[in-house]
Symmetry: C3
């Protein structure tokens, strides 16, 4: 109930006012002060999540071959841009404005509230003007900014899975539909206060609503698009295609970890009271411990299974821990965060070869990390967090069916019209030269040669 | 009026006090609370802008050839360092302390105020001591820190244009003069409350005062220094010299985008009221949308013109959008931010080949991005933002003439004394081996070979 | 007294309450508002310091050879993870809970306070519940988060020195002991309120407690582990082994610089008053100027000594400046920060060849930067900061003896049981292929060839 929370905030503000009348003035945070805290918290958390776009870009740039590196960089900055524009044009309103059970408003261009503009433009601000703004609990566009970076995260998940063979512009069209329509509609069900919210589905910061949505979109895309040339031999052999720049992938993971403090911490949605500050701190700690457990479990598991520790699996372990804790980072015993994150990482370590058996080619491992660990994290709320396990399953399945079906329709429509796959020659040559006419590392020999 | 704003803040604080006497206590942010908000906002925005130094370093490191990469890294960390030191030694006072119409004070070493030191050193703080500090609206050094990272940004712009052929130490001498004298003097005219401010020139976060200043310094430098060997053939042919590491350039762009939230958001200069929080949120959203539009327009324009999308142009499109919105990120209809940013990107796409026709060799495209889009953004305030177009032109021209003339004098003085250009042999060999005696990527073959 | 400070905060809160009764309401920050400021300040500073883990990873990845790059990336994300887990399991309690003179409590699993959980779980929060939480001055887990990233920093220092020849798992065991036991015990002496704190030892943000501790652990490790093959010739010749990716090292340094604003600024430990905001701002400025002076001095010194400016030395100069100012970033005349940082950098420039003479092989220069500059910075508090020079020396020596002895015991125990050094063949082949079975840059020729 990311947005309905507004009502709670208003109630808190009202209580605050009442309290002030009755109590010593020092006891409570003033309503306007709380407004500033809440808004600033959205902005700070929001810029952290925005930076996750760079994290995804570096992670994916490090895990593709160098002949496809510039293209994946372009896709990442382009999808972040498109997500923001589409969410402004129609996405936010579909998700949060006048949501019935299933969908919000079809109004376009989400802009500052009249109350805020009246205050900003007043020659002399009156008490009433300030109160009209403060009543909302936070500034309208700080919330928009924070919500926007979430839809961008969903979009980022898709690019990694489909790298090295998808055409640029059809991919961008999919991102337009995903961020303008698919993500907002399912988001309205829970965070917009729709039917899943009413059933009590609980997803604090989006293990399902953000991560598994990106995962479903990626999974349907991967199936419809097919695997990279040479990834699966005719005899069922799986050919590993190593990433070209592992320090970049490591950097990307660290940036994502950093951004996740905004992702989960900011999803407390308020900072205007001691309760909120304490709760946000708890979220930070759980977020960090789940990721840490993910790294350690992935290292141990790969050591045991493969007799060698795998760096890329350790990175994905961190991400799996983060995705897993995202649905319920408010656990009151931090030890549980270690459990939740560790299991998430174990799922990823086991799922990666499974996907390969199914010949689903996921270049960066985004499906295990965002979809499987996202499902696990959402279930974990029903196990450790006090939510209903049945309701959690209902939410996971409903969102999954809708997003997988909607995505499949879009992918198939694109496939049978403009086409979604580059030519064989382009795939061999690399998308950088084929689609962009340039190279990511023009001076480093071997860029073009491998596989 | 970045600094005069202090007076406004004091007035607000006074009003706050008055209001508290008359109204329910909960209505307004307390003066000391507002002081903390304002100061913390400067620190948070300041560290974001500080990180832009890393963004410029990575952008430039990615766009030069590998034989010049270490040198551009060195220049970037060196110029950030020198900018901070010079601004402490004399720059800040020239810009902000006792500004007449044209210039501030020649005092040296800007340190904490006596009121702040008295409070910090008091055995027991009195009400008067706190009031003396709070009266200023924000802590003195938080403002200095925020202003300092702006002068560093100006300096960062120059290094990219002149990369791959300018000598290290003469370049550093130019940076000393730019950050100690040239930037502060023109800054005093507007943000210091000088003559341009009195005429109503409006430049919210520095499309002109920061970006075009860096652009003019770069442009005069590029003309006086000359193009890189081999860039322009005798027959007028332009030889493209591709950057050696495009994921780094992408990372740099993302870091700059992140930092820009501090750049523009922090330029609200206050966070101590609902009005400020709402206004800062609006600034964040406009900043993001302008950059997003820049990316999309640059992609579309290069697709149309060159039949291929150009990654480096998409990156510069983002930056052009950001520079364009910087003069007026307080637009109250966010759709206008899309227009302003999109036009900025279009200007850059069209201007890059134009500069090449003029044989002005700008390695990273900083002149189109920071100068041309900076001019456009400043004009846009006169078109969309309610400022006077004539006054905006006066500001653009006045700053341009002063900075171009002052820069030209310094560049020419350096050219005819110590020299500013490396030898032909050094340019061939690469500045890394020539000037620093090392290599940026010693193990990757081909580092030395290309072009 | 990082933690005892809590008492001061409570006193301030109490004073605030008293003041409110007697004075106009607008004069002071309310206790709950201060609680939010203090907690949020820990979270923001904490995420900045967390990002330093990425800074160390990139710095070290850039300074090792490419055949050891993936391994150093893995070690960095693993040590950050392990540090957090161990600090949660036992470290924090050893350092901060019920500290006698020498050591804290052996309780396990540090979790949110009962007061906080009571407030969060209440159907309806009472005034008493809020007061019980607010009384602490900041949220319990925000402090834990902030302290945790410090122990992680200590651990990060060790990995760089010992890179390119230490086995993965024994290294991780050392990190377990360092972060669970060694760091917390010596930390209890000062920041936990133990005997060094009572003697008046002053170390604002940890030149000794964090940086020299990491430095001692690294130094003993380097001696016991021995130098890399080929680093020192039989004739006493020192063979330089250049880093493989200098832009990454530059990025790492910029990230560390950014993170240091959280490191030093957050160590003000409070933001709930004008005094704290002003003091934190002063810390930011000193931190920046010390680093800037470090860069400039390192550039000048290498130019004078070697006739060439050395990029890696400039980067280490920045870090030396940062480490040096860390013990006393509250200097009230910022000019002193230039002196402190500049001398720190000079020490590093002179110490690097000295260590080579002693055949102590420190791959990234972490011993000069963190140990020597850390000692210098701690002494500087006795010189410029008003502390007692004798007490500072007592603290430096006591911490040094304890950490060096404890580290040596652990390193030797590991050496004579599981072994700490990879085989000769593995060292030649590179740890990436030997230990992990992969390559950091599989497509770039020459990865395996050099040295």
């Amino acid at each position: 109930m990311k947005h309905l929370h507004k009502i709670v905030l208003a109630a808190v503000a009202a209580l605050g006012l009442a309290a002030v009348a009755a109590l010593p003035a020092a006891a409570a945070v003033e309503a306007e002060t709380a407004f500033v805290f809440n808004s600033f918290s959205f902005l700070v958390a929001g810029f952290l999540v925005m930076f996750m776009a760079a994290g995804f870009a570096m992670l994916e740039a490090g895990l593709v071959r160098s002949k496809n590196t510039a293209t994946i960089c372009l896709k990442n900055i382009a999808l972040y841009s498109v997500a923001g524009i589409m969410y402004y044009l129609i996405g936010y309103s579909l998700m949060y404005v006048d949501v019935g059970g299933w969908i919000g408003s079809f109004s376009v261009l989400y802009n500052p509230s009249e109350a805020e503009l009246a205050l900003i433009n007043a020659e002399e601000a009156t008490e009433e003007m300030v109160a009209a703004v403060v009543d909302n609990g936070y500034s309208v566009m700080s919330d928009w900014f924070f919500q926007m970076v979430f839809v961008a995260t969903t979009a980022s998940i898709v690019s990694g899975t489909l790298a090295e063979r998808i055409k640029l512009w059809p991919f961008m069209i999919f991102i337009v539909v995903l961020t303008a329509i698919i993500y907002p509609i399912q988001g309205a069900w829970t965070w917009g206060g729709g039917w899943l919210s009413e059933r009590g589905f609980s997803d604090f910061a989006g293990s399902t609503i953000v991560h598994s949505v990106g995962g479903w979109a990626a999974l349907t895309g991967a199936i419809i698009l097919g695997a990279r040339k040479g990834k699966y031999g005719p005899d069922g052999r799986v050919n590993p295609i190593p990433g070209s720049n592992l320090p970049l992938a490591t950097l990307g993971t660290f940036i994502l970890w950093l951004g996740w403090f905004g992702f989960n911490g900011g999803s407390q949605l308020a900072l205007g009271s001691a309760l909120d500050a304490a709760a946000m701190s708890i979220v930070f700690v759980n977020t960090n411990l789940a990721a840490a457990a993910g790294v350690v479990v992935a290292m141990a598991a790969t050591q045991v299974i493969y007799k060698k520790v795998d760096l890329t699996m350790a990175l994905n372990g961190a991400l799996a821990g983060l995705v897993s804790i995202t649905a319920g980072p408010d656990l009151q015993n931090h030890f549980l965060a270690l459990i939740v994150g560790g299991i998430g990482a174990l799922i990823v370590v086991l799922a990666v070869p499974l996907l390969d058996k199914l010949k689903i080619d996921d270049v960066v491992g985004a499906i295990p990390v965002h979809l499987f660990a996202g499902i696990w994290g959402t279930l974990a709320v029903g196990i450790f967090g006090g939510g209903s396990l049945v309701t959690q399953i209902v939410g996971i399945v409903a969102v999954g069916i809708f997003v997988a079906a909607a995505s499949a329709i879009v992918w198939l429509a694109l496939k049978f019209t403009v086409g979604i796959r580059v030519s064989d020659e382009e795939e061999d040559l690399g998308l950088d030269r084929g689609e962009l006419g340039l190279e990511a590392y023009p001076e480093f020999r071997g860029s073009q040669s491998l596989v």
